[in-house]
Subunit: 343 residues, 2 copies
Amino acid sequence: MVAEDRRLAVLRAIVEDYVATNEPVGSRALAERHGLGVSPATIRNDMAALEEEGLITAPHTSAGRVPTDRGYRLFVDKLSEVKPLSAPERAAIASFLDGAVDLDDVMTRTVRLLAQLTRQVALVQYPSLARSTVRHVELVTLTPSRVLLVLIADTGRVEQRVVELPRAAGDAFLARIRDQLGVRVTGVALPDVAAALEDLTAAFDPDERAVVATIAATLLETLVERHDERVVLAGAANLAAVPADFAGSFRPVLEALEEQMVLLRLLGEVSADLDADLPTVRIGRENELEGLGSTSVVSLAYGRGSRAMARLGVVGPTRMDYPGTMSSVRAVARYLGRMLADQ
Amino acid sequence: MVAEDRRLAVLRAIVEDYVATNEPVGSRALAERHGLGVSPATIRNDMAALEEEGLITAPHTSAGRVPTDRGYRLFVDKLSEVKPLSAPERAAIASFLDGAVDLDDVMTRTVRLLAQLTRQVALVQYPSLARSTVRHVELVTLTPSRVLLVLIADTGRVEQRVVELPRAAGDAFLARIRDQLGVRVTGVALPDVAAALEDLTAAFDPDERAVVATIAATLLETLVERHDERVVLAGAANLAAVPADFAGSFRPVLEALEEQMVLLRLLGEVSADLDADLPTVRIGRENELEGLGSTSVVSLAYGRGSRAMARLGVVGPTRMDYPGTMSSVRAVARYLGRMLADQ
DNA sequence: CGCTGGCACTCCGGGACCCCGAGTGCCAGT
DNA sequence: ACTGGCACTCGGGGTCCCGGAGTGCCAGCG
């Protein structure tokens, strides 16, 4: 089995060298730079075997080898360790995020930080409304028949919506609605709000119910909407770092990254718990999105305590420094979770 | 002066052809495609004169001519007319923007629309807080010594900030503060809020003043902050449409566009009034920003009635369709102004 | 049996070269 | 003032060629 081990060591060396140099790596360079203790000829045999298994491939007959998606996959799963961040990096995270004034600010800073740390495109999803509770509901009169409905979640997230009332409503009436809403939904988990509002209209006179129902409906709409799942992005310029990474132009990549839907799918489903300590890695074709066949996504959930709230991650070329990226993603996710817990 | 007129016609033809084909334009093609009624040789003389004046330039001894920044400038100022939009385009604007649920939604839709219409990078600045009035101020208790301060402007813009109080404050006390704030600032223009709060602390007992002062300070901070001038962006993928437009890589351009400060400077100062009906055009080096030497910016203020609230515009290669872009920018600015007036 | 050195082979990339076409500037003629 | 003609320039593309890097295979060795 010694031979088998060496083969894997060769794969690991190929991945590391290729990531570092961006050039197909040959047997001689490999034998020299890594202390494998065998001759290039032996390595060539190993490489032939690895190629047979579909883990590496040669761009041309007479070039070095390059890892395939499957090769990276094996590397990530079995051959790499997530290195802890350096002290300066930790310090950078702290100094970057401290001093944020509101949730928008936290999100913006986080995504920039992540882009800077990893030198890739960073994504951060807003804390999911579905996993929050209501902190406060407010109604603000705009005109007699229009009110602004403001919903504040415990994550600090604020949603607002203008409501057109079926008829004019006086301040006293609105105050009663506000009170009733407050009593019923404050502290309630957002998915449970619908149930909590079930009997809301019953608390009002029949001729008042149309107005109340309109407001309640808008509130529920606000909770349900896909709008919910906002994702912010930073570091698009990093795509241009090594143009060769994206065959032809990277226009399709840029285009894909402008679609919120795509970003959400890249980050993946938010799991219930925060148990997973290691980022999820999707490599190349593994994420089946148009135009993103030569990119990888490293993502992780963040949250308060053990409850996941949303995800964050980075998108980069399949030829990326997985261990480094994974550790940055993990560190930022942890720090962000801690920040939000403070609030 | 007929000769002079023809020279300008030649310049205009060069700009139009170059924009259409992205290739240096020669004297023969010019004589054929545009009904100038003179021979290529004559046009060559004109071109020599235009080159002498610094309006066009030849990439190589034996290539056609290309407009310089100054050439585009003359074209924009004197030789082009802003064409009205086509009916389908107008329809697209309306259908794209209608149905927006809140201010964020309006901004997002607008910027996407503009990017799509112009096929360039679009920028839209949020309605300036400095030009709004206060619609409502709200205080929400988080913990006894922390409150969330929410400010709603008449543009629909919502700002929130967590305030750490110097000591715990009861609900009744906070309600009094809220009332006092409401009385003093509701309907007040944001720049005048500081004055309106001048005597706020006087309305409270001496031992309450520290808390009140903290809240007032945070409110003022919220108004002043640069955060104020948010700009959203869309259509970055359009930069990649004609890679040759940005010599080498367009990394620097992407980088510049990630800086809020840069975006603000690109859009320019918001003037007091909405008098200017034509977009401002800054061509190439005219905007003195690092990395944006080969881009042009077409921008315009938008607002309610005659009051400017902020600006929007697009960034693209100097080689752009100025008349078309200008008309799109103008149309979107008008429509957006009308939408906000409705609110 | 696994490893090694040697060897013939392949193929990419870059440089040298050349030609063609497009476009110019200038000049003499109308 | 405009035009046709002409000599000139230059870049892009095509072809050719070579060197270097890397491979696969084979025979030999411990």
